[in-house]
């Protein structure tokens, strides 16, 4: 369908302008194309000229002819009516000047767009990109390879252009979901989790859930959509905070130091020596650690310093998180076709960071061992979703989890350990961590600092789409990065499972609570049952 005619080249070398009477279809982010003759390589190796569809994305739209302001002086009078009265045809009255950025033609050899750098001549007809083309070209999903159906293209009617992103891509090169509170980041994350647990993917999925809002994913186990014809049935394991343990012996020396309450410079060598001596032990109790420290203190003449470590060690390890023998066993936690949700809603932020540090280090080590051909408990790739990513990888912060996350995000691709970072405060996430997430799903973000952080960290999202971010509504996202051939606006699909992170119905709860309290206060009490009734007859 021809929607306009090219009027002039744009300001940028890859831009052009076209005029259209269309007043609703052609919005920023919509895809159009024009035909141009392009020189391509022929099968024989030479060059041949072929007509190709050159796809472009609309980046700006402005009205170049419309109703004068005077027609809009009275909000109750339709300007079209005034136009008609004055003999202007209200049909075809408006003209829009659209700026479009050239993406290129789809090159089947490389399964991506190639920009031929041919700006269309004035008068060239501009067509609306067909749905089928967009479904095929926006992402690079091959047959027989798992893909995640995340929703549909925002500018087209619902379910008209389904968007599937290749699972192999975003689980290897990491994913970020960035959105302000209430714009649907947990919802989107759950959609991704659902897709990963479908028979096509059967992922080994770990979700760190600091707010306990992913429990509804348990329904995956029974819903038909997730059952495979070959008998596959996914398993969803929900670990409550009291079941989440770190075995003390799994801590590194630097973990130990950060767990203790600022040991002095005299205590540090004692602790280091004690930790070295206990390094072969599978189970270490706080008493064993202190006893070893004490023995070293006596031997080295630092008995007082060693004695002072006792309360520090007790204080550090008498927390629910640490245990001498129990831990999160990787073979229980991670298996293909299993989604493990670790609920951390009652765990302190410091302990959450420590847990991520210890657990992710273990997973990473096992994955490295496997890829290097060494003995490993994890002979399959792992994808972990980290809610509230800014807690675990804060910018300029000293979170225990930050170093291992930096390592995984920069090296994890080679070893089959992918991370999905979810956050509502991109400006508070470490820049390295954010920039290493090569697939981005950006939802509504209004804070200018957060928008700047995204601009800095995300390479392939155009300014035009980032400008749209503030105006997105719940459930709409800009999808960009390595998993897609060109960034686009997407409407996230409905969840198959129920959503477990609804906002509290505050006013309803207040009303209910008030009703209960007021009923209690006004309860009629019999005179003889009244407090102090037995003493009523006594003399004062």
């Amino acid at each position: 369908m021809t929607v306009g005619l090219v009027s002039e080249p744009g300001k940028d070398t890859n831009e052009f302008m076209f005029l259209t009477p269309d007043d609703e279809k052609l919005k920023t982010g919509e895809f159009v194309y024009y035909n141009a003759l392009v020189k391509v390589e022929s099968k024989s190796g030479g060059l041949k000229t072929e007509e190709k569809k050159i796809y472009s994305r609309i980046t700006d739209r402005e009205e170049c002819r419309g109703y004068p302001d005077e027609f809009m002086a009275d909000p109750e009078v339709d300007p079209k009516k005034i136009a008609k009265k004055l003999g202007l045809s209200s049909e075809d009255m408006e003209r829009y000047r659209i700026t479009a950025k050239i993406i290129g033609f789809y090159d089947d050899r490389i399964n991506d767009f190639t920009n031929p750098r041919i700006v269309p001549k004035p008068g060239t007809p501009i067509e609306l990109a067909p749905d089928d083309d967009l479904e095929r070209f926006l992402t690079n999903v091959e047959k027989d390879v798992a893909s995640a159906n995340i929703g549909d293209l925002l500018h087209r009617p619902p379910d008209q252009v389904n968007v599937k992103i290749p699972v192999d891509n975003f689980t290897a090169t990491h994913l970020s979901i960035l959105a302000s509170t209430g714009s649907g980041k947990s919802y989107t994350c759950a959609v991704i989790a659902e897709e990963l647990m479908k028979p096509d993917s059967r992922a080994a999925l770990l979700i760190l859930d600091p707010h306990g809002e992913y429990h509804t994913l348990k329904d995956i186990e029974t819903l038909d959509e997730f059952q495979g014809e070959d008998g596959y049935s996914p398993e969803v394991q929900i670990l409550k905070p009291d079941k989440v343990k770190i075995r003390i012996s799994e801590l590194s020396f630097s973990d130990l130091l950060s767990s203790l309450d600022s040991p002095t410079s005299a205590q540090e060598p004692i602790l280091r020596e004690a930790w070295n001596r206990l390094s072969g032990e599978k189970y270490v109790t706080p008493e064993m650690l202190f006893q070893t420290c004490y023995e070293i203190g006596v031997t080295t003449g630092n008995e007082a310093s060693a004695e002072a470590l006792e309360w520090r060690i007790k204080k550090a390890f008498n927390r629910e998180l640490f245990d001498p023998s129990q831990n999160l066993a990787l073979d229980d936690l991670l298996n293909p076709g299993q989604c493990s949700i670790i609920q951390l809603d009652t765990v302190s932020r410091r302990d959450q960071q420590m847990l991520v540090n210890v657990l992710f280090r273990k997973i990473y080590r096992e994955r490295v061992n496997h890829e290097k051909g060494r003995k490993s408990k994890l002979d399959f790739p792992v994808f972990a979703i980290l809610e509230e990513g800014h807690r675990f990888a804060p910018s300029g912060g000293d979170a225990r989890s930050l170093p291992i996350l930096r390592t995984i995000l920069s090296e994890g691709r080679k070893f089959g350990f992918g991370i999905g970072v979810i956050s509502q405060r991109p400006s508070k996430i470490d820049d390295d961590v954010l920039s290493q997430c090569k697939t981005q799903m950006i939802m509504q973000i209004q804070n200018p600092n957060d928008q700047d952080a995204i601009r800095r960290a995300v390479e392939r999202v155009g300014e035009d789409l980032l400008d749209e971010v503030a105006g997105l509504t719940s459930g709409q996202a800009v999808v960009a990065g390595d998993s897609v051939n060109t960034p686009f606006l997407c409407r996230i699909r409905n969840r198959i499972t129920d959503h477990g992170a609804e906002s509290l119905k505050t006013s309803k709860r207040w009303r209910n609570s008030w009703k209960q309290n007021s009923t209690g206060a006004k309860k009629v009490v019999d005179a003889d049952d009244e407090e102090g009734a037995e003493d009523r007859e006594k003399f004062l």
Binding site: E70, A73, D74, V77, K81, I82, K84, K85, L86, G87
Partner: protein
């Protein structure tokens, strides 16, 4: 006899009314839609039009047969001019004004009231009986001495009535032809239509206010 006398009276009255409707004749034109009309005086017709019959903003029509079809050109008086040959005379007249009429009848005729008429559109009678009304530049031209009649208020309203409501399709043309008086003229038309069509007053008021505002702001 008595009855015959009454009929004669009636006929004479109708004749008078008809004459009253006729306000003048076309004298020339400036363009396809800008005509000059000479207003009848007492020397031209028995009952000349009163000043209110050719006032500023009076809708007028000229009826012509074009290709066997009756076409009524509709226009409006957008300006007027009084022509007086005595204006600027430096020598005294040898006769009294009342005697001049006797001695120089053709000279006296040169005293005229001329009206500028902007053609706004036409009404063409169709064979089916329904009239085709158009606000546009009429494709046909009037001729010298074509009779100009005044349009009644009802006819004026009817000229503006279309399926979708009241329309002033000649708006831009009239602004151009009437020049500095255009906004006053349009404002005058709109206010008359508003009185006749209260159901359209909201949108007509908006047009009127815009005209008033532009008229005021131009001089600032």
């Amino acid at each position: 006899m008595e009855q015959q006398g009454e009929e004669q009276k009636k006929e004479a009255k109708m004749m008078k009314d008809k004459q009253r409707e006729e306000i003048g004749k076309i004298l020339g034109s400036e363009s396809q839609i800008d005509y000059l009309c000479e207003i009848y005086r007492s020397t031209d017709v028995e009952d000349p039009p009163s000043p209110s019959d050719h006032r500023f903003g009076q809708f007028v029509s000229v009826t012509k047969e074009i290709d066997d079809t009756r076409v009524e050109f509709v226009g409006i008086i957008y300006d007027s001019k009084i022509v007086n040959p005595d204006q600027g005379r430096t020598v005294p007249s040898l006769s009294r004004p009342e005697d001049q009429e006797l001695f120089h009848p053709s000279y006296i005729d040169e005293r005229k009231t001329l009206a500028g008429i902007a053609m706004l559109g036409y009404i063409r009678s169709s064979e089916e009986g329904s009239d085709e009304r158009k606000h546009c530049v009429p494709p046909w031209t009037l001729e010298v001495d074509d009779i100009v009649k005044k349009l009644s208020r009802e006819e004026m309203v009817s000229f503006h009535e279309f399926e979708e409501g009241i329309k002033l399709g000649y708006y831009q043309n009239l602004l151009k032809i009437a020049g500095p008086l255009g906004k006053d003229l349009l404002s005058n038309i709109v206010s008359r239509l508003k009185e006749e069509k209260p159901e359209e007053s909201k949108s007509l008021s908006l047009i009127e206010k815009n005209l008033e505002f532009n008229k005021m702001i131009e001089g600032v």
